[in-house]
Each structure stands twice: as structure tokens, then as C-alpha cells.
Symmetry: C3
Subunit: 155 residues, 3 copies
């Protein structure tokens, strides 16, 4: 088992099958040294979509959990793409959309649920990424969070 | 005529002049093996902007048509950048923003209007792309959809 | 002093310390010939966040100023990453999110506040970039604008 998957196991997480896209596109794409992963909504290991809006029906803590499930789904897709997560050299970027009401202002804290998870699993060096975190008035399937990712990989 | 333009013709589409940007930026940019195209709003062959919000004044079917017009505009800009669409090797990524009310949940179906079009025109292999599809509370000129794209190209 | 910083000085702008990220991620990241900069909210030289929504509490002119402060923050981070802005070869892309009410339609004019600034400081050739400009129903800390950037750099 890869080092990264050992860390996942110690966190109680067995990666699910890579979530299928909700449309006519690829869940992931390898181009040269980069792995691009499509926007991943917040779906937990039981297949339940974490729905709702921050500032309304979803608390900050619930939003952070939703963001973590996006990160788990992104890793599940990365494993499906690469065979093993040991081929991940670096998380380059996250693009994060938080389903929120107009008054919400804590998007960074929500998305830390994903960023912190990547640091924990990949280690601080490989996980040191740029990101944007913004509000969306609505997201696919009513999900609370959607995150896309770009990784540098071993070819 | 290129193979791709023959397919476009069979769909009844003659690419328009590349839509001009609504600001002080480039409609497209070639950097090495990549062609980046700026966010393209939903404008049809007659120059009409498809406006409105999904879940309110725009039906799912109308939204899919709007997304298709974004894709047509992206191809028009690609042709302007490359001279011929035969230089397109691969659609890498779409970033799609859907003008929608807070309760809307079918962004993926809307954006399939663009993804399906690319599959039809470029073929399933060249068109196999990653994407995100999210809701925006508002878009430039009140457009229903805005989509940016990255292509891999022959240099 | 670099040519670019001389131009900044003539505009009355001394780059501030690079704004720190509002979460567990990197303010910038160099990968090969590219410099990626995390989403930067509108913060002026005095450290004040320019808050509010376009179409409501923020005028078009105020929004353009807010977008300019995002650009200044992006340059401050670029300088922190590169040592000197002379290593900037090209602004490749801006991804711009405008905090706006559902009826707002002038996102491109707002984001020109950033694009025009880059043209002024980097010159028209280096600053010729692609971008998207969309509406967000909410942004971190209530900021009026958030912009991410990708630059090509001298390695």
C-alpha cells in the first residue's frame, strides 16, 4: 500500500470508486506532467451528497466537512487516473466554489476543510497549493461545495 | 475545408467572426502547446446575446442552447487564433458559469449543451475534457452562460 | 529598481508586503516557467478591504478601484515570489470574481480596473492576457472583487 493510502487508512478513509461525472465529460485527464480533475461536488463515502447553503442550512463545521469530501473525491479520481497515489508529486491548485448566501464571508475557512485534508494526507510540501475560494449562488445537485484540482505527477 | 469545419457545416454552423472581448484583454492567447480562450458568453450566429437566469426566465433546453453558443464562440476564437481548426489536438478544459437562481441544481445538464457540441464537432477523443460547472448569481451583459476553454494545439 | 517598479512608483504605488493567505494554502507557487497566484481579494495599500456588492453598495468606479487593488496585491505576491518583477515575461490569465447582485451586468468594466492597471504597469505586450469575469453572490471577507493570476516567468 502506498504511503499516502496508509495515511488515509489511519484517518479511517478508504478511497471510494472515483465518482462519475454528472455529464458528458471526463472525470480526469492526464496531459504531460499534469493531472487535471473535474469539479468534484461534496459526496461522502456512503454516496450521500452534502447539500445546502453556507449561512443558511449548512454550518461552518458542516461546510468544512463537505469540503473535505470534495478532497476525498478528488483523491479517488487521482488514484483511478494514476493507479497509485505515489505518483502524485504536487498539488498545484484548487478552484473552490462554496454554495452560500449573499452575506456569507467565511469561504476560506470552509475550503480549509479540503486544504487541511490535503496537507494531512500528502504532507505539507506536496500539498502546498494555490487556490481560489469564492461563493456560488447555486451548485450542481444542490451540493454545498465543489472543487476542481490540478496535480503535477510522475510520468 | 478542414474536417472539423465540414462537420460544423453539416450541423448548419458557419463560424462567425471571433467575438470581441468586452474589455481590455485578449480574446485568446497561444502559449507553447496551449491555446487559452477567454470567457465567452452565449451569443448566437445573429449576434444576439442569450440572456436570463436558469430556474427563472431560461428553461433547461434554452440553457443548453446558450451553452452551445458559448462553444461555437470558443471555436470561432480558436479558428481566429490558429488559422485552421485542424491544429486543435485536444480540448483540455472548460470552466463553465451558469447564470442561475439560488435553487437551481441542473448546471451539469446545461453545460452538456457545450460538451455535447464539442464531442459532436471534434469527435469523442479530441473532445474528452475536464470541466467545472457552477452557478453564478450574475454574468456579463446578463448572459445565461459563460465558458472559458483551454486547448492543446499543434505548434 | 526594475523598470516595472519605476512605472509603479510613477503611479504612486509602492508594493506592500505580499498579502497573507486567509487559509492553509500558498499565496503563490512557481512550477517550471509558470507562477500561479492564489485568489487575491481587494485590499488597498493601507490594508483596508474594499467590501460590498456591485449594483448595491459599490459603484462601478469603486468596483474598478477594488479590481485595481487586487492587481496590486497580485503584483506584490509576484515580487515576493520572484525577487524582482523583471522576471515577469507575460501575464497569461486572470480569473476574476465580482461580488454583485443578481441584476448586475457590468463585470467586464469592473475587471478592466485590473486589466488596465496591468497594461499600464507591464506594457501592452506583457500584459496581453486572457481572462474570465463573472459574478459571485458572495466573496471572502465580503470583498468586492477577487482575482487569481497565472504568469509566465524567466526561470
Amino acid at each position: 500500500m502506498s504511503e499516502i493510502e496508509t495515511r488515509l487508512e489511519s484517518l479511517g478513509i478508504t478511497l471510494p470508486e472515483a465518482p462519475k461525472p454528472l455529464g458528458n465529460f471526463a472525470p480526469y485527464l492526464i496531459d504531460g506532467e499534469f493531472l487535471y480533475i473535474s469539479g468534484q461536488i461534496s459526496v461522502d463515502l456512503g454516496g450521500n451528497i452534502h447539500r445546502g447553503k453556507l449561512g443558511e442550512t449548512v454550518s461552518l463545521e458542516q461546510g468544512q466537512v463537505a469540503a473535505k469530501w470534495c478532497a476525498v473525491g478528488l483523491l479517488a479520481r487521482a488514484k483511478a487516473a494514476l493507479g497509485t497515489l505515489d505518483r502524485v508529486e504536487k498539488l498545484i491548485k484548487l478552484g473552490a466554489f462554496v454554495n452560500a448566501i449573499p452575506d456569507f464571508i467565511d469561504h476560506p475557512k470552509v475550503v480549509n476543510g479540503a486544504s487541511d485534508f490535503f496537507v494531512e494526507v500528502l504532507g505539507p510540501e506536496k500539498a502546498n497549493h494555490v487556490r481560489f475560494a469564492v461563493g456560488s449562488s447555486s451548485l450542481p445537485a444542490g451540493a454545498a461545495v465543489e472543487i476542481e484540482a490540478v496535480f503535477r505527477i510522475q510520468v
